[in-house]
């Protein structure tokens, strides 16, 4: 401890008041090193999105300490890139203007970086397309490029591929890993897909609901690129799955609504 990029100590978050109080997050302790790709997995209602929104600065009401590069998080900003489940592009802007957003494309530096990112997320030829003309996967790649243009210290992804079909999703996972290798951007990726969690991560963090707590951390030391259809991948997957099922059972006995 002391030199991790992101540090979370004794993080607690609850909704509601006195009698109907719900512990969304309880005693979260987490340190993420620079350049890591960590996935957070858990059943719905375990607080994984809430945790991500707190890190992003979108949710400010909590107790405990959350620091990014040694500084307490004061609110949302470009140092914390955020990818939502829906692409949330500006429908009135073309792909390149969406990536630039509040920055001007007539600025040479911005222009060059936007072109590089379009190349990186494989959208060459779609610079002038409007979001309505893009598929879900393409739109999500634009959203990723938009976040990366700001050189975030950390990229937070909240089930970004949840709405995509299985093939697109597998392709997007490859694209994300390529970006990660090329840019060395630290990423936290929230998902409820075990395959996805194991395929992407250095570390899989399993959350259990009510109260949202870290129930296990599974390091994944497989080299990249990974093959899903290998025994070693499958054994790791099973390891995560068995941990996950324990939390599921626990959740059911506790009567959490899933």
């Amino acid at each position: 401890m002391g030199n991790a990029l992101l540090e979370i100590n004794q993080l607690n978050k609850s909704f509601g008041r006195s009698k109907n109080i719900v512990h969304a997050l309880k005693d979260i302790e987490l340190a993420i090193e620079e350049g890591e790709l960590v996935t957070i997995i858990g059943p719905s209602g375990c607080g994984k999105s809430t945790l991500l929104r707190i890190i992003a600065g979108l949710d400010g009401e909590y107790t405990g300490k959350v620091t990014l590069a040694g500084e307490a998080i004061k609110g949302p900003g470009i140092d914390k890139g955020f990818i939502f489940q829906e692409h949330r592009l500006f429908p009135w802007l073309t792909v390149e203007k969406n990536i630039a957003s509040d920055l001007s494309l007539s600025d040479k530096d911005v222009r060059r970086r936007v072109d590089e990112l379009i190349e990186l997320v494989k959208l060459k030829g779609f610079e002038k397309a409007y979001p309505k003309e893009l598929s879900g996967g393409m739109a999500q790649r634009v959203a990723i490029a938009r976040a990366l243009l700001r050189n975030p210290k950390i990229l937070l992804l909240d089930e970004p591929f949840g709405a995509l079909d299985a093939f697109t999703r597998a392709h997007m996972q490859e694209v994300l890993l390529e970006i990660w290798r090329a840019n060395k951007t630290t990423m936290i990726f929230v998902t409820h897909d075990i395959d996805e969690a194991v395929f992407l991560a250095n570390r899989v963090i399993i959350l259990k609901p009510r109260p949202g707590e870290i129930s296990a951390v599974v390091p994944v030391e497989l080299p990249y690129p990974r093959q899903k259809a290998t025994p070693i991948f499958q054994s790791l997957r099973l390891q995560v799955l068995s941990r996950f099922e324990q939390t599921e059972e626990f959740a059911f006995t506790e009567g959490a609504g899933i």
């Binding site: 900003g77 409007y130 976040a147």
Partner: protein
């Protein structure tokens, strides 16, 4: 839809014709013309109206009903069914129009009218726009101002005309004031509504991307509200045009309304019709121009186009 409307219109026309003149011939010519229009109709509707030729075809379809009605009208007047003193024939109106055009009078009065309407629209519309932004952005401004605006909005525009005249007299100022009072509200309400309809999720995006307040207004709120703003502009323009008529009929020395008033005193029915037609045509042209601009600016929208 336009197909059935057209058929219905053609029906009434042919009924009228059947009641008055030679049934067989009238029906035949109508039917021939109608079926000629009807065949390409589905094609025209399915094609995007960006192509000029498609646009012209759409315009031709839209013109069919007026053309038929005017023909029937001319026939009714020449047949002596209506008195020329109350309803001028289209030919007489065209004659009066040609005369006014040739003398340059029409252009003069039209320019005066357009200037008035434009000035009133710009002042009233700009005020509506600014107050709409103010109340749309800030809840405190909304609580402070919106109830008053809503009450004033419900006062019929024409009811305050006597008051405006009492305050500003019969001069140019009162005319502009009448138009301003009408142009204000449509833009005010639509800008307010447009801002309040901006997707909350996109505000989060603006937060995450670190938009400054100015950028948030210019790059998020206004573009997102643009469909509503356009709507407001179009209604404000239409109301300005109506306000213009009222203002000019109340008393003026120039303008299309003055032309109509003068013709009324001289019992020159044809010129009254010319004035009405000019009001209609210019109003329609302004609205169509707005539609073209709107289609261009809002081409990013992914909505049902019919």
């Amino acid at each position: 839809m336009s197909n059935s409307v057209k058929t219905a219109a053609a029906h009434t026309v042919s009924q009228e014709l059947g009641g008055s003149i030679n049934t067989g011939e009238g029906e035949k010519t109508r039917r021939g013309k109608q079926s000629g229009d009807r065949v390409p109709l589905p094609k025209v509707l399915s094609r995007a109206s960006r192509l000029p030729s498609a646009f012209l075809k759409n315009a031709a379809v839209g013109a069919a009903v007026p053309v038929i009605l005017i023909a029937a009208w001319q026939l009714a007047v020449t047949a002596g069914l209506v008195s020329e003193q109350f309803v001028s024939s289209p030919l007489a109106i065209a004659g009066a129009l040609a005369e006014l055009l040739a003398s340059g009078q029409l252009l003069h009065h039209l320019l005066v009218s357009i200037e008035r309407a434009a000035l009133g629209f710009l002042i009233g519309g700009a005020a509506g726009f600014l107050f709409g932004i103010l109340t749309g952005l800030f809840r405190k401004a909304q609580y402070l101002l919106d109830p008053s605006f809503q009450v004033l909005r419900l006062v019929p525009n024409l009811a305050i005309v006597p008051l405006i005249i009492l305050w500003f007299g019969f001069g140019e100022l009162s005319k502009i004031a009448i138009i301003v009072s009408g142009a204000f509200f449509p833009l005010y309400i639509n800008v307010f509504t447009g801002i309040r309809n901006v997707d909350q999720k996109l505000f989060e995006v603006a937060q995450v991307l670190g938009f400054s307040p100015i950028k948030r207004l210019l790059r998020l709120i206004l573009p997102a509200a643009l469909p509503h703003i356009f709507n407001g502009v179009r209604i404000s323009l239409a109301v300005s045009w109506i306000g213009l008529v009222v203002a000019e009929l109340v008393g003026s020395q120039a303008g299309i309304g003055f032309l109509i008033n003068e013709a009324k005193q001289n019992s020159d029915t044809a010129i009254i019709f010319v004035g009405i037609i000019i009001f209609a045509i210019v109003g329609k042209l302004i609205d169509s121009a707005m539609k073209v601009i709107e289609a261009r600016w809002l081409n990013w929208r992914d909505s049902f186009k019919g």
